[in-house]
Symmetry: D2
Subunit: 342 residues, 4 copies
């Protein structure tokens, strides 16, 4: 932490900042500069002290601003955990050399729909199955999902096809229920900072797929992961799904493909990409799948529906099985060209 | 709803779109244009059909894009409810000619702190008291609030000073608990699309202060309000608290002051402004309070702490009581100049 | 400047950074911390060295990142020029206690239109006249302005009414031409980083109204001002006109009203607000004018047209004279309540 | 164009809108809906009428809002020009099956530097050479380029290596000078809406590489291309270089990789990607190059410097030749896997 004093800060103001840092058991270092004095903190700052100390220093007289030198997250950081984390879900691995594809419909609508979807995506190369039983919808008038009946269908379909099932939980009180049926718990973008839910996920005996909120910075996202990790659940999979768009005319969000190499460089957690929600348009999904894998993503989360025209939600962004299969073939080619497999 | 066909759509593709609209019991109108045909829907579209129909039409062959003509929200719309809603909280009114100020510390830290804060803000002109017992924090290592002990202090302070208490609820299972102690339920920005929480708030016997999410469009915000309204709770107060910033160097968020006149023109719900979170810096709070009231806001939500330097969170954005009082005096002058009172 | 080393930087890597700083004639200070070493620069860094040094240090082995402690602008900074700059344009002052209103049509269309506009805005209280002769238009098919004929009309109208004229220059080779006719040179938002134009404005014998680019940070904006100031032209007026919008559904841009108190605190230059372009909708202009002045802006730039329905551009955002007059009355009331005049 | 009337618009207000459309020689169609009436325009709207008509209708009494059905650009649209445009620069083609790489230093610094850079990038597989002689810099104190001396070095290097040269022009009066030396004219992101410059480029006898402005929507970008195309210059190459970032902590901009498939679907113009400026960090450049080509980009624009540590600008984002060569090898593998060549 560096405290930049104002150009006209008095010697007394500087001494008060030095003293305040010392009071916390930290070691201050004065750095006389050209225009101004800066004061550095030359000790490890305990995590719980970091934010309040910064805020307090910021409002002391004579202080211009405070700059952070260290990252706010620890457990999610590669500095403290150099090796890649690989999450193993009954043999389906996310995080290693193999590209993992999670596919399935936006919402679970019926036993028949799920089974057809699961068989088609498995045949094409998917390693896990997705399907929503609890659907977060922008409008209260939209279809909200089948609830527990949907979870039951997911479990049955997983068992029949051997694809582990991924589904979203929106309410931490549903966590035990969802864990009974699902193999991976998904935290949706709208809930990235729903702290009771993150804490419950941290205590659940299931891997957690954590989507990035559409206006979350990468640090905020890794701090959300930290909420899960610090409860003892180390099986966190990050999922980039598009950030707030500059231009809503053609895509629903903007896929932040740079997040893939950035996260890979600063964190050990696996990162996958959801191009269905990022684009909101099936026409662009295959191109974004290719881009994600080329950028180094560990996998994909793709919406596939046996018949998008009859879907109860997100018709526009769900791939037909035939288009999904064509995309997987392309992605496999890219993965092989990069020395990976699928 | 208008379906714009591609320039090279065939007659058959056009007829299929016309037929699909007809199947829903809606009336299609063909509009031959210069470059392309457009097909309008000349009937009221039921709320639950709106989104899925739009998505399905969008992926039909020959369709270029679908444009919405009507708004997605109904109960929050001024078109269906022309008169301003005024929320009355034990005599403190939000939404009328009088400017309402809600003030108090970020977090409830102790009985003494709350009582001092409440007395100071009441003396200066606040009509309601705020204070957080459950604190949503970006970092898991930060202070998370006193919980029920904090709620008890809030209730006691409200009773002693006569200022109705406003506090955030983060978990819908805490709703009965929070309603036992608080006069107004706050839904925080991070939870604007936490649908179980919105639904619970819609069923609570308390007015609800609904903060705008930092990347929420105005329509998404009004749809979040619709979640509460459609459960039968008509006492919703909107709160603009800053949107995702273009520039984080000087303020934490960007106060979207235009949202005030926009919301006033399209919705009947009262709207207040929270300049403390919008700026994240106490130095700019007074200027933003003045701007909000000048733009027509119904009130303010302001963080005030007896001693910001000792605060357990948000030290940087909490006003000292003396600065709060000076701000209220200015705002009162502005309100009077505009024919309002405070 | 602070160089944060990686947690696992070697002693040799640290010494190379120390040496590199020393080579530039600057004084490095090592700060051993908890997790990592940081190295500060304890000398004034010459302006031309700042950016390249930062970039070079950033890529040296063992370096995690480089943080800036000082601002990049000097001449625009209040630290080096504590007193407010007041720009005097033939007696109309921008930057002092009096609120200055610049008003007039988007584009100069005819002698009659300008004269009527000028008389109406003068009567209502405007101190300067605006009108575009060279119009930057998003579409090449849109009306591009009257050019020199428009400038002549502006000059004549200014002379007849006594209102100094403000007009945009888009091409630095037009600078002498525009200076012949106009009293204030405007640099538009799209040209905020058009460096030949900024340099020409810095050499012109006219005050310069510099609009903020819609995606410019405040530092980038002040650096654009620095381009003008460093040529010796000290008469720069900043103009906030809306930043890239989160939501285009209701307004064209998002007025960043916080920029007013932020700029006031870090710079001595006067700042005015253009709510016409910020909102793109005349209905919201009056509310934003009030907000801007309440926030402390030195003035307003408002589009007014005698008959918006017949205007050749921006019909939607131009006020009718009667609405302009009503707005000025309200703003005068606010200004008076804040101890200012208009 | 569709005019949505307010729910409570009167019959007279509706008739006035109908009449106003008729006055322009266009055919109005009334569409009675559930909540409101909409009025469509069933004729091709002349390009120059489009914007003003929309603005005028928007402010007529009883009008709620106006929605556009057609795109604003014509010449850049694939609807009017279905076949892909391929730009041929002395045999180097941009837009066809072969991936084209443009590489070279940020700024031309010396004859030796350019020659070494050109030889290295040619050897690795680049088809064109880049280098800046006129540098747009955010700070007036930064290195501004060698000017004509730089152009001369570019020409000489191009001739020696056979790589056509690409360089930026910032001032339309320099257009003849730059065309004398360069094979491709670059319009930088900051100048995307510099209309005198776009018009001059439209009249130049050189292909034009048009960078997207960091806050430009895709429609605004294609309208900027339209400025060039409508002057008769059909050789326009679009270049995505990152949009305004949600998060500046790790990258300078956010690469909008979705723009690649979107532009491919709506326009016939070739599109390349500049990952150097998008990321601002050499570490992420290779990953973004791979993503761009996987998404379908026609080529890359990459900064390469023989010795980034000694570079006069953008040290941080320039690749070393060895890293460039490794990236090209990877991209070639990807291109081959997708049935393309490099």
């Amino acid at each position: 932490m560096i405290v930049a004093m104002s150009k006209d800060a008095t010697a007394e103001e500087i001494q008060k900042v030095v003293a305040k840092i010392g009071e916390q058991g930290l070691r201050p270092i004065e750095m006389p500069g050209g225009d101004r004095v800066a004061i550095g903190v030359a000790s490890a700052i305990p995590a719980e002290l970091r934010q309040p100390l910064s805020e307090i220093l910021e409002i002391m007289p004579g202080v211009d601003h405070v700059a952070q030198v260290s990252r706010a997250y620890k457990l999610a950081s590669r500095e403290f955990h150099p090796a890649d984390t690989v999450v193993d879900i009954h043999g389906a691995k996310i995080g290693g050399n193999r590209v993992a594809i999670i596919a399935g419909p936006c919402a679970i609508e019926s036993r028949e729909q799920m089974l057809e979807a699961a068989e088609k995506v498995k045949e094409a190369g998917a390693a896990l199955l997705r399907g929503g039983a609890f659907k977060p919808r922008t409008s209260p008038y939209a279809f909200q999902g089948l609830g527990e009946e949907g979870l039951r269908i997911l479990r049955e379909t997983s068992d029949l096809t051997g694809l582990p099932g991924v589904t979203e939980v929106m309410d931490h009180h549903d966590m035990p229920l969802v864990c009974r049926y699902a193999d991976v718990i998904q935290i949706g973008a709208r809930n990235m900072q729903n702290y009771p839910l993150l804490t419950a996920a941290g205590n659940a005996d299931r891997p957690v797929l954590l989507k990035r909120g559409p206006s979350a910075t990468i640090d905020e996202w890794l701090l959300a992961a930290e909420y899960i990790l610090c409860q003892g659940n180390e099986r966190v999979i990050l999922c980039e799904r598009g950030v707030h768009p500059l231009d809503r005319a053609y895509t629903r969000y903007t896929l932040d493909v740079s997040a893939v190499p950035v996260v890979k460089s600063i964190s050990h957690l696996p990162i996958i990409v959801d191009p269905s929600h990022a684009s909101g348009n099936w026409k662009y999904v295959a191109a974004l799948c290719r881009a994600a894998i080329a950028a180094g993503a560990d996998g994909l989360l793709v919406e596939v529906h046996p018949d998008p025209l009859s879907a109860q939600c997100d018709s526009q962004q769900q791939l037909k099985p035939v288009n999904f299969a064509a995309m997987v073939t392309e992605v496999r080619g890219l993965a092989n060209a990069l020395g990976r497999s699928l």
